[in-house]
Amino acid sequence: MNVRDCVAGLPESVRRRILSDPAVRDRVSGGMELPDVLSSPEWAAEWASRADRLRKEALRRILLVYGATAFEEEKSEEEALRDGRWTGAEWRVALAGLRLTGILYAIRKTWGDRLYFVPADMAAVWQRLLLPAFADPLDESEARETAAAAAPFRLPLSLELLSAWSAIRRAGLPLTSKGAVSKPSAARLVSAMRLTAEELEPLGLAYPYRDQLPVHAALALDLGLCTGVLRKRDREISVSAAGAEAWMARSAQSADAELYRMAMLRYAVPDPGRHLAAAAVCACRAFEWYRDRDFLRIGIAPSAWEVWMNLLVSFGWAERGTFRGEAVFRLLAELGDARTPEDRESRTEEGFAERFERFLVQPDGEIFVPPGVGLAERWQLEAVSERVTADRMFVYRLTAATVRRAYDSGWREGELRRFLERGSGAALPGPVEEALRDWFRALGKVRVVDAMLLRTEDAGTAERLLQDEEAAGWLLERVGDRDFIVDPAHAKELVARLEKIGFPPAPDRAEGSEPGAGGETEADAGTSDPGWIYTGSVPSLYRQDGTLETAGRLFPGLSDVPPGWLRQTGSYHSTTRRELVRRALDWRAALQVGEDGGRLFVPDALETSGDGWQVRGRWGGPDGAEEPDTLPADRCSPLRIVLPDLEPLPFADAPANG
């Protein structure tokens, strides 16, 4: 779930609290919309620069342990306590604070459990701010020493998918009545791909009809549907002309960056370690070697790192290697920048020349397509020629058969010539021009067209119809002595006229025609996830929780506690001390125990025996080191209850809760 969706479902009370933060308020007053503020890296950086240690630590822990998956409030508190660095009080206050700042969002399950989550599109931003890798690339001499690992060549995913989608455009992808992709169609689709199912298996993706559809085909469908290049109807998946046009307006680089973003949200989010790896890696500069260990040390699980890095290799986005025995990697594309609107705007003639490379038409009819050629040109080339080589340089070939195919899909000689000349920036070589002329000349001399026929019983009836001026006006052409081709646009008027003049038409009972057959409807209209693969996004299934955290709710009875218990250590009677300890236990708060400022003691249990009592717990040491201990009543003095800073929290419920 992204920030925009989260803000849309935000309870009013929480929204108001978020808006009251000066960093948000100033931006909104400056004209930004709240979702844009809360997804802006600048706002996040400002927050990180002034936030207190507790909240930043909590957010770090969330990113490391939960990523952008939803986690239960209570369970997370238990887990934080086990970590030893936290008291329950600190954890609860930190979560509440993060929520009221617009960083964390809360949903409530039907049976009452509350779950928190970081919006998936902000996890990478927070990772860069709070868990930076501080990774310097290898210098030039070190890079020369680096040995790339053996791996089969893979196209950048943008081009891999282009081939797969092109196969769908050419042959279609019919679905069975149950909505499955037939095995032959799936086989045709994967034959257009170099990716293998084995490479994607470690992702553990779940999707419908898994036994019939290899995972790489599912990926091509998933990303096709999510980018809008493909659309699903009740009986087929096909290319959406408008969606394809919008997507293909990008450069391959921009497309890869956008696909990376999608892959991260769809295939990395379910695994927090993988998500963290995905977020950390995309900040790297392309073609520079980085050490794996610089990223692993921010806390990414090695197994998750391996899965994600191997996926990047399979998607043609990265290369792995070794430098003096250490694992290193480099990106083969800039993955951190998806610029959609700019791309579209800059496709003027001048922009074209500046931003995109040109392809080259060779006199033997082959078309060489260097890496910088835009997707739009590649998409058209897929339509008008055959792919000979899919490598760094793509090679296409014009043949009589491809020209025939292009003709069938609406291309005409002039149009194809203009496209080739514009895309190559040069006049066509003579032999190619000659070939196009030859091939097109043979096409279109005859056509098979659908026509509406009016069939009469006999020539006499036909003659009589011609004598009616109004009916004759809609009869376009006489075929033989008893049939007419009629203007379909005026079929209704013709039928009405024929009835009027005494020739009510009999209905056409063509075999196999079923009333209402062939109607296609958008099957998935209205569902929030357009893809094929299940992303398992829990937050999108529940409404956001309207409860506003207050100091009173986080610490029940807070208003009844003497302020001195919280302010400074004091020496109390044993009964009072026991009351303090009990209160701290209820709140899962720490105690400050001892003379001269004392030490922090986190109580776990109060043990009583007769009139006496003792408290079991642990001394908090530096860096979360624990020191279990049991304190008899007389050692619990002086003492106070330590609560985290409650400043950002309202003390009590707001008068009107949204």
């Binding site: 790339a148 690992a149 053996a150 791996a151 089969p152 060549f153 073609f287 290369e319 290697g321 080259l360 038409v361 060779q362 006199p363 033997d364 009819g365 082959e366 060489f368 260097p370 890496p371 080589t389 490598d391 760094r392 340089m393 009589a400 070589p429 003579g430 032999p431 000659e434 070939a435 030859d438």
Partner: protein, 564 residues
């Protein structure tokens, strides 16, 4: 990415060079030792780096480091890691195995004992070992008769063998090049021909002895063969693709060397005479292939050959490979215009004939004036209505012939002959009826396969002497007929299919012209027929070889072409 560089390296080792780039020539020099030209139509030229091309580079003394460094220096998008690895592995594999001759026998040496043991694990290699290699051994005795089989087996496993076992001298023969040829022309090798022979023989003049020389059609490969024969002064067996080539070789030897008719034998379908220098066809050697003993195998044992020359080595048939495997102690020289074999058996050429020793690219030859530049034109001729009707109604097989024999082609040929009046011209065709008719209409002599050899020879000689300016020749022209002065070729019908045929046809007209004029190659094609597509395929091949190719549609509508 460095956009100022001219080369793009594909992940499969294909190299694409931008011919427009200012550093194109520099990059080309870097590629020449490591890659074979694929094709070069237009501005982007394709080269292929293969196992064999890299072995050839290693055999010529190149190192993987230098190759990688050079490719990096010219690559616009860098060098794919997989390609770098392949270069290092492939070039590194050369020299790991060596064959050495010792007084006690023939030995295979490996750089590591494990490698020798690994080779022993391959049955086809193990069959050549006399003993099994022991744990720490890096040397094992080989059965001498298996020298070729072992090299072939190891090359197939990606392990080329450096053969340092030496060669027998063969029967000595006193032979030299003449000062002037029998017909009075000075006999002088061109510089590249001398370089080619030097490269074949090696630095000391006798250390080499097996390998391939690659020269373009028309660059005088026969001269390289003759010179090698003279330098080695030994009995020599020359294998050629057909009997016309046999005749040509014999004539050249008699014309330019001190050899006499008594020294030279012909071993072909028509004659089987073995002499100190014997010229044979591949066909006669392969006759009876499939039998346990090839009947003509004795030719190899008939004399003490010191050198075997394989003309057009890219056409060497598989059975001859097998024979060659048994002849590894004899020096072997392969001559060809291309290392690319249509059957893909380049590895066997490398293992059994030897590495590429020398190559001169076609365009260099043109630039230096050693071969003629050629322009290629397709002339379209319409079908008259009656023929068009016949064509439409005919079955697939007849259509080809109807289009080929289009009577309207005669007029196009006549106009082309008028245009090139006085220039030595060949008219080439597939169908004898058509050619006879043309010969009758145009009053020109016709050479066919049915013509007695002597008569054919006489016509060729008259053509060479300039007494005849135009000859009509049938399919026989596909083979190595020596017509050095032909400057124009007009093809009126043909199969248009094989790339080899195309190269040979073009070869006919690529000899340098005394006038310095360009050679012209015309194909007359019936418009609106399948000939157009066949011709387009052929045209594509020519374009891929770097030749300009134009279409003249002038005659297609019966108006006559400006270009003619």
């Amino acid at each position: 990415m460095d956009e100022s560089l001219p080369l793009l390296v594909q992940s499969d080792g294909t190299l694409i060079l931008d011919g427009r780039h200012p550093r194109n020539a520099e990059a080309l020099e870097a590629l020449r030792p490591i890659a074979e030209i694929g094709k070069k139509p237009g501005q982007l030229h394709t080269y292929r780096m293969t196992k064999v091309s890299l072995w050839n580079a290693a055999a010529a003394g190149e190192t993987a480091d230098r190759v990688v460094e050079r490719l990096r220096a010219f690559s616009r998008y860098g060098l794919p890691a997989s390609v770098e690895r392949e270069i290092r592995e492939t070039m590194g594999s050369y020299g790991r195995f060596r064959l050495a001759g010792r007084p006690e026998g023939l030995f295979l040496l490996a750089d590591h004992p494990e490698r020798l043991r690994a080779a022993y694990a391959w049955p086809e290699a193990a069959a050549c070992f006399e003993t099994s290699p022991q744990n720490s051994e890096t040397m094992v005795r080989i059965r001498p008769e298996k020298r070729g089989a072992l090299k072939s087996a190891l090359a197939a496993r990606g392990c080329p063998v450096m053969d340092e076992a030496g060669y027998r001298s063969g029967g000595a023969m006193d032979v030299s090049l003449r000062e002037t040829s029998r017909s009075g022309k000075p006999v002088r090798l061109r510089s590249y021909q001398t370089e080619a022979v030097d490269a074949f023989l090696g630095p000391s003049g006798d250390g080499g002895g097996s390998g391939v020389v690659v020269l373009p059609c028309g660059a005088g490969k026969t001269w390289v063969g003759m010179s090698a024969l003279v330098r080695l002064g030994c009995e020599t067996l020359i294998l050629t693709p057909n009997s016309i080539s046999v005749t040509q070789w014999i004539r050249e030897l008699l014309e330019n060397t001190s050899l006499t008719e008594a020294d030279i034998g012909e071993y072909s379908g028509r004659t089987k005479r073995v002499r100190p220098v014997t010229v044979a066809t591949y066909q006669v050697l392969t006759r009876g292939a499939g039998q346990e003993e090839l009947p003509h195998w004795s030719l190899f044992e008939g004399r003490d050959w010191g050198l075997i020359i394989y003309d057009e080595v890219h056409l060497l048939p598989a059975p001859v490979f097998r024979m060659t495997a048994d002849l590894q102690a004899t020096r072997r020289l392969g001559l060809t215009a291309t290392l690319v074999r249509e059957d893909g058996r380049e590895t066997e050429v490398f293992a059994l004939i030897g590495p590429k020793r020398y190559e001169m690219p076609w365009k260099t030859g043109e630039r230096e004036g050693w071969i003629a530049e050629a322009s290629c034109t397709e002339v379209r001729v319409g079908l008259d209505e009656r023929t068009a009707q016949r064509y439409r109604e005919a079955g697939a097989r007849s259509r080809h012939r109807i289009a080929g024999e289009n009577p309207a082609k005669a007029e196009a040929v006549r106009r082309l002959l008028d245009k090139h009046r006085g220039t030595p011209t060949l008219v080439i065709g597939q169908y004898l009826d058509q050619l006879r008719k043309l010969a009758g209409e145009l009053g020109l002599p016709l050479v066919t396969g049915e013509m007695p050899h002597a008569e054919r020879r006489e016509l060729f000689d008259r053509f060479n002497r300039g007494e005849l300016r135009t000859l009509i020749v049938s399919k026989v022209a596909n083979f190595a007929v020596d017509l050095p002065d032909a400057a124009v070729a007009i093809q009126v019908s043909g199969s248009y299919g094989s790339r080899q045929e195309e190269a040979q046809r073009l070869g006919r007209i690529l000899r340098p012209k005394a006038s310095g004029a360009k050679a012209s190659f015309y194909t007359v094609v019936s418009e609106g027929t399948e000939e157009v597509e066949f011709a387009r395929n052929r045209g594509r091949f020519l374009v891929e070889q770097g030749y300009a190719y134009a279409v003249d549609r002038g005659d297609a509508d019966g108006t006559g072409g400006d270009g003619i």
